[in-house]
Amino acid sequence: SQSAAIISSSGPKRSKGTRNPHDGQRSSKFLKEILASSPSLSRREDFRNAVVPHDYMISIYRTYSAAEKLGLNASFFRSSKSANTITSFVDRGKDDLLHSPLRRQTYLFDVSTLSDKEELVGAELRIFRKAPGDFLMSPPGLYNIHLLSCRSEKLLDSRSLDVQDSQKPGWEVLDVWGMFKNRHHTTQGNQLCLQLKGTFGQSDSETDLRHLGFGRNGRPQQEKAILVVYTRSKKRENLFNEMKEKIKSRGSRRSEEEEGSLQFKARRRRR
């Protein structure tokens, strides 16, 4: 609140100097927008409750902020890939065909908020594999999971799984950095699409992914797959950019809601 008071009172006075005369007005206007856009406490809590951070993101934050307090630079960590921004996108894909075998699973991510100005330095898909309750349905042995690009069906990464041995649930991490290198070729609009398939031993026949513990039904938010993208911004970011984006998205949400309500009223009138 202290800095807010300084900006609003000194803004118009500063405009007498050599600076852009609109700077002060713009910042005080922006400040008004910030204050006006601050939702009530209950709405804020609703908003916060709607987004549940994955444990992986919380552990990243805890590790790097602890390192900062010790004077270590987070970029020294191998896992950070020298990135200063790590974004998690939650999977929007759904498993349908409840009763048929799940041969392929599509993972969809809305990556529209990724900026072209930032340098991409790494990307991985983290999929939670439940302990398969009905693993006895699968013959014992080594299984392979393969991650493909939906569009080109190009193999991005693969991993071996011994279903009998690995009874503990856990996260499978697959490297999708190869796909991001040519992002404009692999994304459809703002959607990034990945496909998972499982095979048994040396055979090419695709197995039911539910038997391997990848079924999506009944999963809480925390167990949904995430796409983790590591980026490095060259220029110094300022916090107000984040606030501006928030205001823009709130504004568009509000206009969508208003538009929806107008359409409903028109429909009712017609009826």
Binding site: P39, Y64, T87, S88, S112, K248
Partner: protein, 120 residues
């Protein structure tokens, strides 16, 4: 001239403190930013406060310009203002937040904590 006491401080006239780092506790919840910042909800940012008067101490790492400006100010305060007490070294903090697409983002924001103040 004011006589120095045993701590090297002057008696008599009310003296302004020299440029140094002071506490500034930032509470994102009070700013209303807790709807998009997940963690931390508060942190110690510090701020710089105090006067940059002649003679400037070396730990304030003055620029040559600040030295000249301070000298000019000491000779004629009406013609030249004193140099400014500002942050000269800042450090980053980690922030976990929700972006406009409702994605959870970890970002290391530069220049969030004042480490050192100086005269510029």
């Amino acid at each position: 001239t004011a006589q120095n006491n045993r701590h090297g401080k002057r008696h008599g006239k009310k003296s302004k403190s020299r440029c140094s780092k002071k506490a500034l506790h930032v509470n994102f919840k009070e700013l209303g930013w807790d709807d998009w910042i997940i963690a931390p909800l508060d942190y110690e940012a510090y701020h710089c406060e105090g006067v940059c008067d002649f003679p400037l101490r070396s730990h304030l790492e003055p620029t040559n310009h600040a030295i000249i400006q301070t000298l000019m100010n000491s000779m004629d305060p009406n013609s030249t203002p004193p140099s400014c007490c500002v942050p000269t070294k800042l450090s980053p903090i980690s922030i976990l937040y929700i972006d406009s697409g409702n994605n959870v983002v970890y970002k290391q924001y530069e220049d969030m904590v004042v480490e050192q103040c100086g005269c510029r």
